[in-house]
Symmetry: C2
Subunit: 431 residues, 2 copies
């Protein structure tokens, strides 16, 4: 391993937005960094829904972590699952052995939250990783193929119904992308199917979609979705899903073979930390400098971290910008700590939020300017291309978007691996 | 299903080069076509090795079959595994039910031939489908990650040795691509590994690589490979492989955790046909008009078909051009048969052969012109782009090749799904 014995050892668990940013900003610091991730790539999560709906290939939104750090001499990377933290002797246990640290940073992000509903967890599709997005893509296409040979009209409708649970950005963008598939792509692919029987439901617990956005953005997003044919159901809760029928809390029943679960996330914690510091949403309570409360050398950043403040009583929103900015801030603070200087509190600069619903249809909330429609859609694309890691990924994604736009098509409707719910679990563990 | 009861039913099994071409050429014929394939996409097999070695994403070399036939009114497509042919009543059994035919065309191609060696079949990696190419990609990257944490030098060397068996175009191109990875990509990705310990072996049974090519092409290809660091071993046979060590027939032993098997193929037959017609290489003996000997309404084209002739005593070579030309010819013959006209014999027009070894290094054999090197490499790229199905695929592939060329890099080194030999079998059945 590249290392210099004099320098303190920093272990960063997770190569998401926060971990990558932190490690990059430490490139000139006098530390030896070990980054661990269960995948050998960084995932650009905001575009996972496009992989799931056939608009992009997985390779465009993922980037090899080794390549990010090619030039960085003070960092080593390993593919590993971290199984436990031993705070008493500053070590961690992983699938490839134990490692000791001087400073430990948890940048593990969040995972899908099924709120303890085991049956829903078994049957609904999460979409937080590339393999999960590919599973969803396979399921969507398999259901259409099955609908084609299903003679029972009720079972056929269930195969053609898609229920998206959760009206946050992921849910809204997924429902919109499914509507685009229905409106532009599938009629030509499946001339034998009455594609008007395909229905897309978006179920949201609160009284509007995109609750973190402005009301203006919410209402416009809902209008876009409804114009595209999505049935938006507000103030509804999913009570059960058995693989065939969604039962809502008010008793309404939606027959469907595909439920996409984007209703919530929880912090991806690792055993070994004081459970008292785990707060709402499975996050870990940290000081304003991202030091976990009760420890002096263990930090959390990004989705996992909860810096409670009057403005953000449950911590900052679980978005890429927070993770990136916390990674940057923690890099500065680690250098300060090593130099025996006091740390500085994290101060979130909210750059705004955006979501795309369909072609020419997006909503953008900036601090002083909120706009929707075609220009918002261009802005959304520009910003996402800008943040996508790697020149090749930017170019291939831009190319796909241009081709998709002018052809009214999605290029990558391939069932590369059949989705099989029973095999999935074993595989998910192997991944 | 789109169908007109008056017209004869043609079932085409397989959406490879031959099946696609046949169906396209029948678009104005008075027939009702049903095409079946176990995947919902056509695979451009000549570029599978680039998917396996991280140069291209799978979506660039696969194309949705439904999209190919969007405008074709006389064709229906179904994803199905065909399990048996019942020639006595002109029906087939499939995973989605039975279908009856007036004319049946087997365009199922070929599958990897392990020549009955069960242990090799279990441990070696085939590369005939997209999922197999992705498994190989994962294995290559996983072995490198493991080598990094392996402390035993012998086991580490085994993780860094790659043995390609079979010196045909696939074997040569794969060995060349692995050498490019070693020479240009991996040193930067794995600065902690002594990448010079990585060795690539190409094992060929006969006395030169690329036996179907001119001697000039064979020797130049070998020279290219050796200059790139590949150990070319001629007149060698693999006797055994137990997952750790390849044993050659002459007793030599190569420790390796990755054997890529491109040593042979056999026809992908379906139960129910007269076994007497199965000849060398598992192919089915057909008349010169591709009618299977002994039947009057069942045809075979492409890799599966053996039209024995003085020039091709065991049938034509198993290449895309033969399948394409036989598909075109059979389309004409089917129309003739339906109109009670005599069929015409297939006449293969050999356009030549080409293989690429590395950047600026390829060999091209045309009928009257054989050339190697940079111009051959440009020719190879041009022809492959031309034959790749779909505008998007052509553009994305061109973009990748340009970026790879100038960056000396491969964009898509992602372990999207971990390769696990024990899980693989179950999954392969599910696919």
């Amino acid at each position: 391993m590249k290392s210099d014995k004099k320098f303190p050892k920093v272990i960063i668990i997770g190569g998401g937005f926060g971990g990558i940013q932190l490690a990059k900003k430490l490139r000139h610091a006098e530390v030896n960094i070990l980054m661990l991730d269960r995948h050998n790539y960084h995932t650009f999560q905001p575009l996972l829904y496009q992989v799931a709906t056939g608009g992009l290939e997985p390779d465009s939104i993922a980037f090899p972590i080794r390549k990010v750090f090619r030039e960085q001499k003070n960092l080593a990377f390993r593919v590993a699952n971290v199984t436990a933290i031993h705070t008493e002797n500053n070590t961690i246990s992983t699938s490839i052995g134990d490692f000791d640290y001087d400073y430990l940073v948890l940048a593990t992000g969040s995972e899908t939250n099924f709120f303890g509903q085991k049956e829903i967890e078994h049957y609904a599709m999460p979409m937080k990783t590339v393999p999960e997005a590919l599973n969803l893509r396979s399921l969507i296409l398999q259901n259409l193929e099955e609908a084609l040979i299903e003679e029972d009209p009720i079972r056929r409708d269930a195969l053609l119904n898609f229920v998206v649970v959760g009206g946050g950005p992921t849910g809204v963008e997924t429902a919109g992308a499914l509507a685009e598939l229905k409106n532009h792509v599938l009629p030509a692919d499946y001339p034998e199917l009455d594609i008007q029987r395909m229905r897309i439901f978006l179920i949201e617990n609160s009284e509007r979609v995109l609750t973190p956005f402005s009301e203006q953005a919410s209402y416009k997003a809902q209008e876009f979705l409804e114009n595209m044919g999505v049935t938006v159901m507000l103030q509804k809760l999913v009570a059960a899903y058995d693989g065939d029928r969604v039962v809502l809390k008010d008793g309404e029943i939606l027959p469907t073979k595909a439920v996409i679960w984007s209703a919530g996330v929880k912090g991806a914690t690792i055993p070994g930390l004081d459970k008292a510091q785990i707060v709402r949403g499975g996050r870990i309570k940290t000081q304003p400098d991202n030091l976990i409360v009760g420890y002096n050398n263990i930090f959390a950043i990004g989705d996992l971290a909860a810096i409670e403040s009057p403005e953000y009583p449950y911590g900052h929103p679980g978005v890429a910008q927070v993770a990136i900015q916390q990674g940057q801030q923690l890099a500065k603070n680690l250098v300060r700590i090593i130099n025996n200087q006091p740390t500085q509190a994290f101060d979130y600069y909210d750059k705004g939020a955006m979501a795309t619903i369909g072609r020419n249809k997006a909503v953008v909330d900036l601090k002083y300017w909120k706009f929707q429609g075609f220009f918002a859609w261009l802005t959304w694309m520009f910003i996402h291309l800008l943040f996508l890691v790697g020149f090749r990924n930017k170019m291939v994604t831009l190319m796909n978007w241009i081709v998709n736009y002018f052809s009214y098509d999605r290029g990558t409707r391939l069932i590369i691996r059949k989705f099989d719910r029973d095999l999935m679990k074993e595989e998910a563990e192997a991944i």
